[in-house]
């Protein structure tokens, strides 16, 4: 195949509608006679609902109907797909029944003829609460004497889970030193710029429910909502128009989605709900939320020979779709990019009176990378080694791939020293080490931090996934020769309308303008899984690739028939089927399409039409890797952190569109730095969300961030024919420890070994104060 598009920085086909304001997000749509829903939500972290009074609200202008938990008892529980052994799964009603268990939990749904009137009526609903002690602190929640969040269970421990590999006892027995450290991964709020939004329309005649929802997983949602509402799945259609970012927060099935469907079925009217940012903060999933105790066995030469990691995971009050599964990904990636022969992770998943945690960009892997990359620096500090050398001592060599880890994974391909080398050069590492020494003498604090991450992507082989890990594609040559690609992945900003068109255009020898990539409509697209876990291109793109291969095989049969030549003599090149060695006889894809649809002259038993569908099941995950280097200087007066330099050399395998890959890395780094520097969801003792708006929860602004210097190495993945790995989360995973390592490095003269995130100025200032005393 001639590579005219693959590997090129093709401008996105998505953009013209988005830069002109003509794209449609859910809230931009209006259906005839549409009603509006507003939710009344719990103002308590933990309380018994004594009564709900809707009488005043019912009298308000424009009010159509008000639904309480009682009215919605027939709706099934909000689903959880994380099936761990012994997992306690509490009932999770779409509207709270006897109790509320987190601030923001929906209690009542008010339907009115306008958005304004719905809000007014919601304000007029009164809920009589009996406040209960809130369970907020993670470790206290896990203790036997804690108040229980779910009375049906004996305690707040939802599950315990362990992963172990290698001989840990031996590792610790033979260790020259053992390092112990506690690390906290604070709770984060995803803050997709578009809050969630749902429109539901039930047509009683067709007995069909259509949901427009801002989601990453339209098909999984269709299945789950159909089950929750007792509808036949083929009478439910989920449409995902533009989605304004997800980062995992829309990789879920929420109560509001089923509630809106239910309400539309009751009223026979279309209904809309668009989340406010306050609702988004309180009642859309959060991320991270782990506390872990670490023990590391090391040898004098810097080798890490064993890791024990005991984790408490803050699950929140209920399970959302993948809540309990997220910490298990931490376990899988615990040994990072290193040859560590023994590892064990123990997870205790704990219910707390907070919003559920779930997949947030990186989902479990940033925690693992943060831990192991901090460990490398702890080892360096303990042994007075350069952190670069510690990493090199522990890297598997290029020839060791595929590389089997103690946690049971097989890393597909890797060459970890290559990006490290490149990054050290790009960052002028040695120069900065000298600068650091000079600066210290003048009482200035410069720090250099590395992160040589590896991550698990392209999720994934179905046996290892909660709901199937394959992805689907249909490629259809229309009678006029135009190409339609239907992908089951449901991109939401990543740009696969462009990158999949690049793949298809090159394989079919047509221009990118001839291709239309459709996604996110279960009425149009064959069943698919969705976009998350850095999977869309490696799994969904491969499905497109395979579907086209299949299509060309069919085309070859027809070409052989039409050109009257044996199949084996037919070749496809530049958009034409021809006979090898005889350029005079050829048939274009367009001619072939028309011939296959008009079906006047087809081979015997040949199916008319020219399309094919492929479901690609990956045999393994992929494992992108890279090195991020961050140089910081601390403000001795205020503790503020200034990033002087940021270098990222990433290896995500082969690259379809460098521009899009860079964009993913930039955005990922920004989010990772957000966690390191400023982001934290804070609940107070009574379970109130203190950081309930963007006035109190900071995410990075343009002037909080430095210029990112990017480069890459290319180590193709053998897992898929495109050789791609995935890049959606790499930046987030790589950047957080690089920044924290840099700050701890800057504070080395103060004997600081570890600081928990976020590294707000005050925290740094305090450490600087201590030494000054």
């Amino acid at each position: 195949m001639a590579q005219q598009y693959i590997g090129q920085s093709v401008k996105r086909t998505e953009d013209p509608r988005l830069i002109t304001g003509l794209g449609h997000y859910v809230d931009d749509m209006k259906l005839h006679d549409m009603h509006y829903v507003a939710f009344v939500r719990s103002i308590h972290g933990h309380a018994r609902i004594r009564s709900v009074d809707i009488s005043a609200a019912l009298q308000m202008p424009g009010v159509v109907r008000i639904f309480t938990g009682e009215d919605c008892r027939s709706i099934g529980s909000i689903p959880c797909a994380g099936a761990l052994e012994g997992l306690k799964v509490p009932a999770h009603p779409v509207l709270a029944l006897e109790k509320v268990r987190y601030v923001g939990e929906p209690i009542v749904a008010v339907v009115a003829t306008s958005l304004y009137l719905a809000r007014d009526a919601a304000e007029a609903v009164t809920v009589d609460y009996q406040s209960l002690p809130a369970v907020v602190d993670l470790e206290r929640a896990a203790s036997a004497d804690s108040p229980r969040i779910h009375e049906e269970f004996s305690d707040n421990i939802a599950y315990t889970w362990a992963l172990t590999g290698g001989d840990l006892d031996q590792a610790f027995k033979e260790a020259d030193k053992v390092i112990k450290q506690r690390m906290v991964h604070q709770r984060l709020i995803p803050v997709a710029m578009e809050p969630r939004a749902v429109i539901a329309r039930f047509l009683p005649g067709e007995h069909e429910l259509t949901l427009w929802s801002s989601t990453q997983i339209p098909h999984l949602m269709r299945t789950q909502v159909a089950i929750m509402l007792g509808l036949a799945e083929n009478h439910v259609r989920v449409i995902t128009p533009e989605v304004g970012g997800g980062f995992g927060s829309k990789l879920n099935v929420y109560g509001e989605e089923a509630a809106l469907g239910f309400i539309s079925m009751q009223l026979h009217k279309p209904v809309k709900w668009a989340e406010t940012r306050r609702e988004n903060f309180a009642a859309t999933i959060h991320g991270r939320g782990q506390i872990g105790d670490l023990e590391v066995a090391i040898k004098k030469d810097g080798r890490v020979t064993g890791i024990r990691y005991k984790v408490w995971a803050d699950l929140g009050a209920y399970h959302q779709l993948l809540t309990p599964a997220i910490p298990t990904l931490t376990g899988l990636m615990l040994t990072g990019s290193y040859r560590i022969p023994a590892a064990r992770m123990d997870v205790t998943g704990v219910f707390t009176n907070k919003m559920a945690t779930d997949a947030y960009r990186g989902a479990g892997r940033p925690e693992a990378t943060y831990v192991i990359e901090r460990v490398m620096d702890l080892v360096a500090q303990e042994l007075s080694m350069d952190p670069v050398d510690v990493r090199r001592v522990n890297f598997p060599a290029k020839k060791d791939f595929p590389f089997a880890t103690a946690t049971g994974l097989t890393y597909d391909s890797g060459n970890y020293d290559a990006p490290l080398k490149k990054a050290l050069k790009l960052a002028e590492y040695k120069k900065w080490r000298r600068e650091q020494q000079k600066a210290r003498k003048k009482g200035r604090y410069i720090g250099i931090g590395l992160s040589t991450y590896v991550e698990i992507c392209a999720m994934g082989p179905s046996p290892a996934m909660p709901a199937g890990g394959w992805e689907s594609a249909t490629v259809r040559i229309e009678p006029t020769g135009k190409v339609t690609v239907l992908t089951g992945a449901s991109p939401h900003g990543q740009g696969q309308e462009t990158s999949f068109a690049q793949i298809a255009a090159d394989m079919l020898g047509v221009t990118i303008e001839d291709i239309r990539v459709l996604h996110g409509d279960t009425g149009v697209v064959q069943y698919g899984i969705g976009t998350f876990g850095s999977r869309a291109t490696a799994v969904g793109g491969t499905a497109v690739y395979r579907a086209i291969e299949k299509l060309l095989q069919k085309g070859t049969l027809l070409a052989a028939h039409l050109l009257q030549a044996p199949k084996k003599e037919i070749q496809f090149e530049g958009g034409k089927f021809s006979i090898k060695g005889d350029a005079s006889k050829s048939i274009s894809l367009q001619e072939m399409a028309l011939a296959s649809y008009t079906a006047k002259n087809l081979p015997v038993n040949f199916e008319p039409g020219l399309s094919s569908t492929y479901y690609f099941e990956p045999k393994n995950f992929t494992f992108p890797f890279g090195t991020h280097i961050c140089v910081v200087e601390l403000d001795g007066d205020t503790g503020e952190i200034k990033i002087l330099k940021y270098v990222a050399v990433d290896d995500c395998g082969k690259v379809i569109n460098p521009l899009l890959v860079d964009g993913q890395i930039h955005g990922g780094i920004a989010q990772g730095l957000g966690q390191a520097l400023m982001e934290e969801a804070v609940y107070d003792e009574s379970g109130q969300l203190i950081t309930g708006t963007l006035m109190d929860y900071a995410i990075p602004r343009a002037n909080d961030l430095p210029w990112f210097e990017l480069d890459r190495t290319v180590t193709p993945s053998p897992v898929n024919p495109l050789g791609v790995k995935g890049v959606g989360e790499a930046g987030t995973i790589g950047s957080t420890p690089a920044l924290v390592n840099a700050v701890v490095d800057a504070l080395q003269p103060f004997g600081v070994k570890h600081i928990d995130m976020p590294l707000r100025p005050e925290k740094i200032w305090k450490l600087l104060q201590k030494e000054a005393q």
Partner: protein, 162 residues
């Protein structure tokens, strides 16, 4: 109450409640949905429009406050069907991913370049402080604004040469 204002050159006269926010007037009454709502606290900037040429957050203004004024939304930035140089630059430099912050970001950039045709990187970052983007890490946005600046108003030496 009756509210008259001009959006993208077109007059609108609507009878709305006094509490109607400008952003809702634009989205619901004028049915221009390129102006987005991303927060309630005047932080995110997704609702940015130009009011008499100045960038404002339309979620923190009553429609009544815009009476008699000129509103420009993202839809009004096209000139004779042609993309504005800033729009073009966002496309060329991959200055957007999910696109939700983009209309507001482009209009904030528009004001910035009106006031400062040759901004430094730091001035650009400062100039879009009122607009949050969660996808891009801002780098390609900064590049897009730099590129638009160069095209809209070539450096003095270059224009003198012409």
């Amino acid at each position: 109450m009756e509210i008259s204002l001009n959006i993208n050159g077109q007059p609108f006269k609507e009878d709305v409640e006094p509490r109607t926010l400008l952003v809702h007037f634009i989205r619901e009454n004028a049915q221009l949905t390129g102006t987005h709502i991303g927060c309630e606290t005047t932080i995110c900037g997704a609702c940015t429009v130009l009011l008499d040429g100045r960038a404002v957050k339309s979620c923190t203004l009553l429609a009544a406050q815009a009476r008699g004024k000129r509103v420009t939304t993202i839809e009004g930035l096209l000139e004779k069907g042609e993309l504005h140089p800033i729009q073009k630059a966002f496309w060329e430099e991959h200055g957007l991913q999910c696109g939700y912050c983009t209309p507001g970001m482009i209009l904030a950039a528009h004001q910035l370049l009106q006031q400062n045709p040759h901004p430094s990187e730091a001035e650009i970052r400062h100039g879009i402080e009122g607009n949050l983007c969660r996808c891009t890490g801002y780098q390609h946005i900064v590049k897009a604004i730099q590129s638009a600046a160069a095209k809209m108003s070539p450096p003095r030496s270059a224009s003198a040469a012409r």
